[in-house]
């Protein structure tokens, strides 16, 4: 590729707008500007220099800020579309058909359309991911393309710049010193600028004072942070990088923790507390009787003994006792267990009394642990009750045989055999909740329901995310870069003493001209420099005057 040679003799890469060495404007565009466009210090943005192969073309596409901003805007609009109606993962139904119905029922024709267009699961759609991916490519390519030349250019800065460069800065001054001996001026400037914590370099009759050059690296650092963050998000999709399981555990149960091999959890108790405040206006409006104060599961975390195989629950080691609450998950070994859900008052035990039907006389009572019933309950001498069959979740008769719908004691039913001194051979009775007992013949005795004990069920979520440290690193780098780029600015002051003793001065900052001017005010007064002008403001005022004259 051909080089551009400047009048000063320096060879600049193709596409350079301002000579790297002396600062003369090179491009026609730059020459025409009254105030130079100082973005990237006029270096050649790499992509704009070559446009030959297909790879170059793709590269150039992603390098463009216009493309980058367009991608940001498209992502923004797409994200907004996803908030019109709830996303599928907030819809508590199981099948696709139910989901379709949900959107139709709740949001009418628009809901149906929303579902059919796939907007109801927008954030995990392939095109949304591609969009974010393209944004990532754009960030990387654009940063490489601009960051490297800018770094080189700032590193190789010359102190002395050509007049045409100086005159085309936004802030300029030209004229004799206002007071005293002009031979000392540069010394005075150096002294003051050093006071203001600028780095000062001199070359003959020229001076360059520079401050916070590192601020220029801010955008590149924050882009790096973003890329690391996106990488972390991407890794999360790979198998094995994160655990997301849930479990229901009843009070008193010990269960293996899904996704957390070798660990067991015991649910000691679940606690639900509510505030006892007077209902507030907001509560009344929403019809909320009581506000929940605390959801808590008291647990014991056990670890399997060293070298034990699956299912071996002997010699488990208690590693932690903890109360899991919302916002206060149980954390152990990189895993975290969260309080997510609960069910209250599941049946735990039932108490029956063996009574004589006619006299009502009681022969004693028995409590049945519904999760661990016994075969036989002895109530006294020659008096006992056997459980012949137990249906924890009685769901009706099928071909005359009682059925159970699940293993959970939601609707327990029993076949009892009651042995009494009167009837030592026993009487059989089928007892279920809310129905009169079914008896083989005419029994003399019956099992009278006395009461129940209940227990609660906790819904817990187990999570582990190996990518979190990557996200933290990415996030910290991003914030650091953002702070560097936002809260510090790169300020430069070029001064030249001309042969007639006059001073020519130019200043530039990438951000915050207000503070740059404050620095200049200080040094102008101290070194008796000619008053600087802001060429942009001056231009505006001239434009205004022009308007007025018409």
């Amino acid at each position: 590729m051909e080089k551009i040679s400047c009048v000063c003799g320096h060879e600049n890469p193709f596409g350079t707008k301002i000579c790297e060495k002396c600062g003369r404007p090179l491009s026609e565009e730059a020459k025409a500007q009254k105030v130079l466009d100082m973005r990237y210090d006029g270096t050649a943005i790499r992509s704009k220099t070559y446009n030959k192969s297909i790879i170059d073309k793709i590269w150039n596409f992603f390098s463009s800020v216009k493309v980058g901003v367009s991608l940001i805007i498209i992502t923004l609009i797409a994200s907004a579309l996803g908030t019109i109606f709830p996303q599928e993962f907030y819809v508590q139904v199981a099948t696709q058909e139910e989901k379709a119905l949900y959107y139709k029922q709740n949001y009418g024709v628009f809901g149906e359309l929303y579902y059919n267009l796939g907007l109801s699961d927008l954030y995990s759609s392939w095109w949304y991911q591609i969009l974010v991916g393209l944004l990532g490519i754009s960030i990387i390519v654009a940063s490489l393309d601009r960051g490297l030349p800018l770094y080189k250019s700032l590193k190789n800065q010359r102190v002395k710049r050509h007049e045409s460069f100086m005159k085309r800065q936004r802030i300029v001054a030209h004229g004799p010193v206002t007071e005293g001996d002009s031979s000392k001026t540069l010394d005075l400037i150096e002294e003051k600028m050093k006071n203001l914590r600028y780095k000062v370099r001199r070359d003959g009759n020229a001076l360059l004072a520079e401050k916070n050059r590192f601020a220029r690296s801010g955008p590149y650092i924050n882009h790096l942070g973003l890329i690391i963050f996106l990488l972390g998000v991407m890794l999360r999709f790979l198998p094995g990088f994160h655990v997301d399981e849930s479990m229901w555990i009843r009070e008193g149960e010990v269960r293996a923790i899904p996704g957390m091999d070798g660990y067991f959890l015991e649910n000691k108790q679940f606690i639900l507390e509510t505030y006892d405040n007077d209902p507030t206006r907001a509560q009344i409006e929403q019809g909320v009787a009581a506000i929940a104060k605390n959801y808590q599961t008291d647990v014991k975390l056990y670890k399997q003994a060293e070298g034990a195989v699956l299912g071996d629950t002997e010699n488990m080691e208690l590693v932690k006792e903890y109360s899991i609450r919302v916002n206060y998950p149980l954390k152990y070994d990189g895993y975290a267990i969260y309080q997510m859900d609960y069910r209250l008052n599941e049946l735990k035990s039932m108490t029956f009394e063996l009574t004589h039907k006619q006299s009502g006389e009681s022969l004693g009572s028995m409590k049945i642990d519904l999760t661990n019933p016994e075969k036989e309950y002895v109530l006294g001498e020659n008096t006992k009750v056997q459980i012949l069959n137990y249906y924890p979740d009685f769901s009706g008769l099928k071909d005359g045989v009682p059925q159970t719908a699940s293993q959970y004691p939601n609707n327990p039913a029993f076949v009892f055999k009651m042995m009494t001194p009167d009837k030592p051979e026993g009487e059989v009775s089928f007892v279920s909740i809310g129905a009169s007992p079914i008896e083989a013949g005419e029994n003399e005795y019956k099992m009278t329901f006395k009461g129940v004990e209940t227990r609660n069920v906790s819904g817990l979520t187990i999570r582990k995310d190996v990518t979190i440290p990557i996200l933290i690193i990415g996030g910290v780098i991003f914030l650091l870069g953002l702070a560097i780029g936002s809260y510090w600015n790169h300020r430069r002051l070029w001064v030249q003493q001309l042969e007639d003793g006059k001073i020519m001065l130019a200043a530039h900052t990438n951000k915050n001209w207000f503070s740059m001017k404050k620095d200049l005010d200080v040094v102008t007064e101290y070194a008796h420099l000619p008053q600087y002008i802001d060429q942009l403001e001056e231009k505006d005022e001239k434009d205004k005057e022009g308007d007025g004259a018409e």
């Binding site: 466009d37 973005r39 800020v65 216009k66 980058g68 901003v69 940001i72 805007i73 992502t75 923004l76 994200s79 907004a80 996803g82 908030t83 709830p86 993962f89 907030y90 029922q105 709740n106 949001y107 009418g108 954030y123 955008p219 997301d244 405040n277 507030t280 206006r281 907001a282 509560q283 409006e285 506000i291 929940a292 104060k293 605390n294 609450r325 919302v326 916002n327 206060y328 998950p329 969260y338 309080q339 997510m340 979520t461 999570r463 979190i468 996200l471 996030g475 991003f478 914030l479 953002l482 702070a483 936002s486 809260y487 951000k511 915050n512 001209w513 207000f514 942009l536 403001e537 505006d540």
Partner: protein, 393 residues
């Protein structure tokens, strides 16, 4: 007097301080032609009053915090009031950096509007549900609100810039939209007036209606029902029947409130136009005539530069930390989260356009106003219409 009463009074003081502060700042500009020193004095008094208001509101915030036992940012009233406070705080900060009083002319009235809007919601201290009982949540909400209010200053600067730069005498698209923004502010006033009026009258109309799932529910309107809920039946005697009935997918109560606000706002606006006979932007134009456009433009940019990192930290980073602590997932695509991301993307686009495409001045000012519109949308619309984990009140 109990702590909560003191707290309420402090907020009241702050509210009036902001109004009086605005008057003084406006006065300082009006007088600019004559006695310059006197004008400066008026401006200084305006700032001092604004600071007094800010301190008073800080007092409200702290006393309410102590009384409630948790940071007062947990419902719509508390959050919106806090936003108004941080907005004034951000204005004071920018004032001490740039010494531009005129920003107060926009910032303080906006804070006043925010606080009045906030008081339309239930103001009682509500206990926190378990998911909100977290220090990270407090840090997240407060930092996000501070970030948003600093970003809002860029919109304030943008509005000042446009009021000066857009010629109010010739009709243009820019003038139309500028006037539309001001009209919208009048609508907010309309909302406040309507709510206060009917609340003062103790208006109440009870309805039963059939909701989405075909279940019968009850609802109480606090304004005459313009729109009725699906298959609604009036239960209160002597009040207005709804004019039109809405299908179940639309919340007719909220629609009624919105339409009432626009109705009253529009009447107010037309009344103004009838009396003054020129657009509001023309009325305000002389107040900002002396403003240095470049400086205001730079303030707008600078406040985005300052606010953007704070916003990122509060609305995204701390939010993710809290979400990780509370739910075990740092991001859940909750509407409020998504809108925070949208705000973030928008200001990222703003910065790139300004840096690389040279969008300064008017374009930048319009972008700042759109950014503020997104923030408001997130605060009002997302909370009240799109329900999610964050739905307050």
């Amino acid at each position: 007097m109990s702590l909560i009463d003191i707290s309420g009074n402090l907020l009241f003081i702050a509210f009036f301080a902001y109004i009086i502060g605005t008057v003084f700042i406006a006065g300082s500009i009006k007088r600019n032609d004559g006695a310059a020193s006197r004008a400066e004095k008026w401006g200084k008094i305006g700032i001092v009053i604004a600071i007094i208001g800010f301190i008073s509101q800080l007092g409200y915030f702290i006393t309410r915090w102590i009384y409630a036992g948790h940071a007062p940012v947990s419902n719509m009233f508390e959050f919106t009031t806090a936003f108004g406070m941080f907005l004034v705080g951000a204005f004071i900060l920018i004032y001490f950096m740039y010494r531009v009083t005129v920003l107060g002319l926009v910032a303080l009235p906006i804070a006043v509007l925010f606080i009045s809007y906030a008081t339309m919601f239930p103001t009682e201290v509500t206990p926190l549900v378990p998911s909100l009982q977290s220090n990270w949540l407090t840090i997240h909400v407060v930092t996000a609100a501070i970030g948003q209010s600093i970003l809002a200053i860029s919109a304030v600067a943008g509005l000042v810039y446009l009021l000066k730069e857009v010629d109010p005498k010739t009709s243009s698209r820019e003038r139309f939209w500028l006037e539309a923004i001001l009209y919208f502010c009048v609508v907010v006033i309309g909302f406040v007036l309507v709510t206060i009026t009917f609340r003062g009258m103790g208006y109440e109309a009870q309805f039963t209606y059939v909701n989405n799932n075909g279940m019968e529910s009850e609802i109480v309107y606090n304004m005459p029902a313009l729109f009725g809920m699906n298959e609604s039946e009036l239960k209160t005697e002597g009040v207005m029947e709804p004019l039109v009935e809405m299908p179940a997918i639309i919340n007719a109560k909220k629609l009624t409130t919105v339409v009432w606000s626009f109705l009253v706002g529009t009447i107010l606006y037309l009344l103004y136009r009838f009396i003054v006979r020129r657009p509001i932007c023309e009325l305000l134009h002389p107040l900002v005539k002396k403003v240095n456009s470049h400086l205001v433009d730079e303030i707008g940019y600078r406040s985005v530069l300052i606010g953007f990192p704070v916003f990122t930290l509060g609305a995204l980073v701390f939010a993710m930390i809290w979400a990780q602590e509370a739910w075990g997932r740092y991001w859940g695509w909750d509407p409020k989260e998504v809108w925070a991301l949208i705000t973030w993307l928008f200001y990222a686009a703003y910065l790139h356009l300004r840096l690389s495409k040279g969008w300064e001045g008017r374009k930048s000012a319009w972008l700042a106003l759109i950014g503020f519109a997104i923030i408001i949308f997130n605060l009002v619309f997302v909370n009240l219409v799109i329900a999610g984990l964050h739905s307050y009140a």
